[in-house]
Amino acid sequence: MFGKLLAFEIKLHTSQIGFWVVVSIMFILGALFMSLDFLSMSATGERIKANGALTVAVMVSFFSMFSIFFGAVFVVGGVMRDQVHNFLEITHSAPIKTSTMMITRMVGVYIAVFLCLFAFVLGLAMGQYMPWLATESLGPKNLLYFLQPTLVFMVINALLVSGIYTAVAAITRNKALVYVTAIALFLLYMVSGLMTTQSTPKWVMALVDPFGANALALAAEFWPAAEQNTRMSPLGGYVGLNRLVWGGFAIFLYLATFKLFKRGLVAGKNKNAIEAETLSTKAITLPTAKTNYNTGSAVKAFWARFKLEYLRTVKSIPFIILAGLCVVFFALIVIIQLNFAPDPVLPTNALLVGMVFGSLSLPTMLIIIFFSGEIIWRDKVAGMTEIIDASPVRNWSLMAAKWAALMAIVFTIFIVGLAFGMTAQVFMGDVPVNPLTHFKFTAFGFVPTFALYCILVLFVQNFMPNRIAGMVASAAVLIFFVIGINFLPFAHPLMDYGSVPAGSLSELNGFASLIGFKWFLLYWGSLAALFAVLSIWLWRRGLQSSLRARMKGLRKRITVPSIAVASLFLASFAGSGAYIYKSYNIDNNFRTAKQAELRRGKWEKLLGDQLKAPIPKIRSVDVEMQFSPSQQSSVVKGTYILENANAEPLREVYVSVPVSHKREILQLDIDGAKLVTDGENIKDLESFGIQLFKFDPAFMPGAKTTLSFELVQSPPVLGDGSRILRNGTFVDNFSSMPQLDIRDRRLTNPDKRRKYGLGEREKAPDRTDMLARQSLFFGRSADRVDFKAKVCTDIGQIPIAPGKMMRTYAENGKACRDYQAINPIMNFFSFLSADFEVVRSEWKDTKGLNGKDVDLAIYFHHEHAYNTELMMQAMKDSLDTFTEIYGPYQYNQIRIMEFPYRSFAQAFAGTIPFSENMGFVRDPGDPDDNKSVDLATYITMHEVGHQWFGHQIVPAYTKGFNILSEGLTENAAMTAYEQKLGWQKARRLLEQYTIQAYLTGRIVDRDDEPPLAKAEGQGYLNYNKASWVFWGLKHNMGEEKMQAAIRGFLDEYGTKNAPYPTTIELVNALRAAAPEDMQGLITDYWDRIVFWRMSVGGDVKLTGNEADGYEVSFTAKVDKRIASEADGKETSVTEIDGESLNEWVEIGFYDQDPKDTLGGDWLKLERVRITKAETELSFTLKQKPTHVLLDPRRLLIERNVTDNVKKIITE
């Protein structure tokens, strides 16, 4: 009986088209995700293989999530099918045992869900054989890599999903609630994803994701490529815990459902049936009422329908649950972001409204998908079609009401979100609410896009045969337009339905430009209006409403006025589309992702050689920058004095001009050289913004000449923005003035290079290349330059450039300032203009280390005064620390200026542009709380540090160059931060950022990881590993010794001309200062990639008493492993000839869990030399310890430190 029934159930599912559609989709997805590297969920390519063990496991666990959606449909079709087909009364009285019936249905659903998921695994496996998959991306094919995660993840996940839905279905007997559960599950999944970026406890992270993807990510945290390719998901640990809990929950649900499910009908309530019926037998007389059928009554019908559709929806349980979920989701995001985030920010208006919509977007899309189905199919589902469709109501009244209702529902959610956002802001109390910001953000950033999404989804419903198909199709189109389209190599904004770009919202400048917004609104709005007309034509009326029947009847519905309206919309759609296309592709330089890549290949062939060709050097810069913020335009005029510093004469020079159009070059002349206007490559060169000049006679070594220029930055047009903003302009010389060394535009991704046949990219020059050491890292076209600038802007704004401010004056109705560098600066400067508020202060050279006081100023937006005092103090503290350790500061002033949109701060000579999203709105946290991280202070210290490292020490452009800039600056900032706030707070920052960023950065890099001293563009090395290494080194060799070595290095190479220094000189200086027993450590830190592994083996023994002291003994397990540059494969030094273990290891003893003190407050800190893999150690302590911790200060590079600590168990 059971077997037969089960076979019946399975047949029932497998005979549905829907089932096969899902199976095919999952299969295709699997094949695509395996074979297309841009889809893959890991950074697959030559290093991380597409079919590596972990890559496959991650996808298998992640894609289980899809069962959320089809699982719900299967449960409604399988477990609930009686209710759905009003068959309940018949089958439930059939002579089958309830238990058998229930079990077979549940198992049937489970099998259906599992099969669909398994199709994905099959797809993945098939994907390995796709012809377009590069052989370099494939590792050995191993069936086990596919089967193991299927068992560990899918088998359980399918059980969980079907269990949850079955329970809801059986208990509530309400279809809608099953779908609501689906959405809730999905949101839970999103929240779990959100948590991974935050400092939530790891076991919470591991547990909160029901599908195990989080747990797997945690278990495989920091696995390098070599391990990702060959190590399968661990079965214990986080994964085991997660699987056990959710698997257990699934089984519990099955049992509970099985128990709870009762046969028969659920009684409905009837609240209002109080009055008794009094029957009268008298004849009925028909009352009369006037009817009319004019437009007024159609509008009235629309309004009545709209009210009905809207109120029915917002009062329905699914909506209330979903809206509640939105609010919970938002609250969670706010709480996590403001409390658990490692880098908390202040709840500013822009941030809060951003969070509201960040959290609402996804739930709102789900609401659109769900309720579009509910609303469109409402009459059909209720059984009212015949009555309504036989009434004289106009089609448009019915349709417009449904469409308007869906939009009104979305707006309701928005309004609720806004209200919650503003209320939350009021409660937090830090920042006054500015409703206009909230409103603007919503109105421009979200309303149009979501209205367009609503219309698209409603339009799609016209072509769908039923509600479920409608929802699936809606989800598909939304996913495509929201996410999918960005993956298409040929994507054009004209294809990105619903995208009406307003750009991001700044509290300084509002939206940068709304031109694109207006045109795209017209373009998509016209299409949406056209959809509306088509939908009226295709409206389902009556009983025979198949698409075919409606198409047949189309002729009758197409009336002259409707044709006229449709043509109007079509014309404005096509017209605005054509105009946008012309603006983007013809008048300006829009390129698709693919075209851009091809172009970079072309650039390399045309100009790759020029990256090394000799060029003149700029010796001085004299520039006049005229900003017109109100027009969003500027004119920059100036001269460079050039010198031929090469040994040979120059015959030509390539000048790269940062303008979008040639007409924006008003003047470009070089004395003694002629612009080449025709020749074979001239057109191509021009397309890359390059003008070729030929010297005749040649430009002789040691000779000087002048380059003069005048360039325009035009106001924004459709297809091309302007760098000049109404308030808060920030441009640097690379983006506004002619350049003599052309920017390197070669493709860097090795997998992409292979694809376009570009061969291996030439790396930065070796550190011993003396020619390379002639050029500094900002470019070959200058050493330091004399700098003079006049900057003018609209009255009311302050114009700023680097250098000493010489004069403030008004000229031609503009506010102008003259700046002049008191000593030569890098050929790297910025121009800013905004309506600034200013705070000023002065750093006093009290110790006489600097020779002069330094003027300090912060220029900021008036609403952003929260941290200005703190940042001012950070500048002073930095100057205290740095002048003491590294020597004098070279300029007269430091100024910080706020700028909008982008999120970084940058150090120019004595001038620091600082984004409004960074320090100004960071929550610095409690200075006494060691767990909080004060980024406002830290970033300020970092940028001030650059004045020494980057502006005094100027590296040569060779391998490792950025260590001398960013790496040394990180060390300087950490030093100042530690001095100001204590070592525990510094260690917190190290763990939270630096270590995390290094360990994750190295595994997502598609290129090889060089040893630290030879780093190139890798931020995870230049900033993070460098910072970690300096931290480790200073605590190993002694802070003073190390800083003195850096000071010596700076004294030798700072503020000097070529040859510029490299990491060889730095490391030599460190070696010279370090004792003999640290030399090996320096090699490990700088010249190779090393990971230590430490743990406490076995139990810790404790003997003794308070009077005599305590003796602690335990086994320390220590290993040092050398990682390969290519894929991070680690080999223990015990297995390498000529290597040995000989390490300094610190051991801390605590009388409390060191986790609570962040490794601080030890009873005793010991340092031992370890030479064996396992070493018996014993120590005597005065106080009684409870914990032992290896390497409490994280001086050694180690991936996993959870096993470094041991609790001491006393007998």
Partner: protein, 291 residues
């Protein structure tokens, strides 16, 4: 004046309507036929809910396929089977439907909704959700909504199904009153409904109109040809083979068989008595195409 000309309608292989033609005038028209005869299909076509494959329907000379509004504006329609929005009271739903009918005047609508609910005896339950009504109560609600807006054409598909005898009577009374200046089409397979009310009727079978006329005319056609006899259960089969059996009614003590014949059956089946034909006899006679 509603004239149906040669309309046909098929669903795949099923011919639900075959060349149906009818001219209807003011008054009550009964449509009698067994399950699946095509009654509802015809009515839905008249109610503009589906289009005929061929043929035309004209209301006062206007083709309703081309101009469905002409029909919809004067139509009251009670479908054979309908549902309602859950959690919506009778007053609210009726008011809502009245607006869709074009009754935009608020006061007029209110009085009409009130009186209709009173007329169909739902007034005491007006604030209860219609979805919680009993089958008969819901049917009464359906009747009320069909009467909204004073329709000149009233199409009611098996309106008496589920009504208790008292309500059925009241409803039929109402219809006959209303029929004075309206076209009313009523479908049923209950012969009595038609006999009591309709001056004009048609019998439908297999998608065709097999007979059309006043009930008494249809009866007249078989006057003097109906013979009845009470027999044993097991004799019925034999009789069916030999005679045009109209109907068999199980009664106390046996089965009464009615046959259609010009003369009294003889031989083994002797003993039939001539009886006065009723509409039911006429219905079966026409449906089985004995006449």
């Amino acid at each position: 004046m509603l004239s149906i000309n040669n309309i046909s309608k098929s669903f795949g292989k099923i011919d639900a309507l075959k060349n149906v033609s009818l001219d209807l005038d003011v008054g009550m028209f009964g449509l009698l036929g067994p399950n699946g005869a095509g009654k509802s299909t015809l009515m839905r076509t008249l109610a503009t809910l589906q289009l005929p494959d061929s043929g035309t329907v004209n209301l006062n000379g206007v083709n309703i396929a081309e101009n469905p509004d002409v029909m919809r504006r004067t139509l009251g329609y009670l479908p054979q089977d309908f549902g309602v929005y859950p959690r919506m009271s009778a007053v609210a739903l009726l008011d809502h439907l009245a607006i869709l009918q074009g009754i935009t005047d608020n006061d007029g609508r209110k009085t009409q909704v009130e009186s209709l609910l009173k007329e169909v005896n739902l007034w005491p339950k007006r604030y209860s959700a219609v979805s919680t009504y009993s089958g008969g109560q819901r049917q009464r609600f359906g009747v009320a909504q069909a009467l909204l807006g004073d329709p000149k054409v009233l199409i009611v598909d098996e309106p008496t199904a589920g009504l208790d005898p008292l309500e059925r009577q009241r409803f039929l009374n109402l219809l006959s009153e209303a029929a004075e200046d309206r076209i009313i089409i009523l479908s049923t397979h209950i012969v009595d409904d038609v006999r009591d009310l309709c001056l004009d009727m048609a019998i439908m079978g297999d998608g065709e109109i097999v007979a059309r006329g006043a009930p008494e005319d249809l009866i007249a056609k078989i006057d003097g040809k109906v013979w009845r006899k009470q027999v044993d259960k097991d004799e019925v089969e034999a009789l069916r083979e030999k005679h045009q059996v109209l109907k068999t009614q199980i009664q106390k003590g046996g089965v009464t068989v009615s046959v259609l014949a010009d003369k009294a059956p003889t031989g083994s089946s002797a003993g039939f008595k001539k009886s006065a034909p009723d509409l039911e006899d006429a219905y079966f006679a026409h449906l089985n195409r004995f006449v």
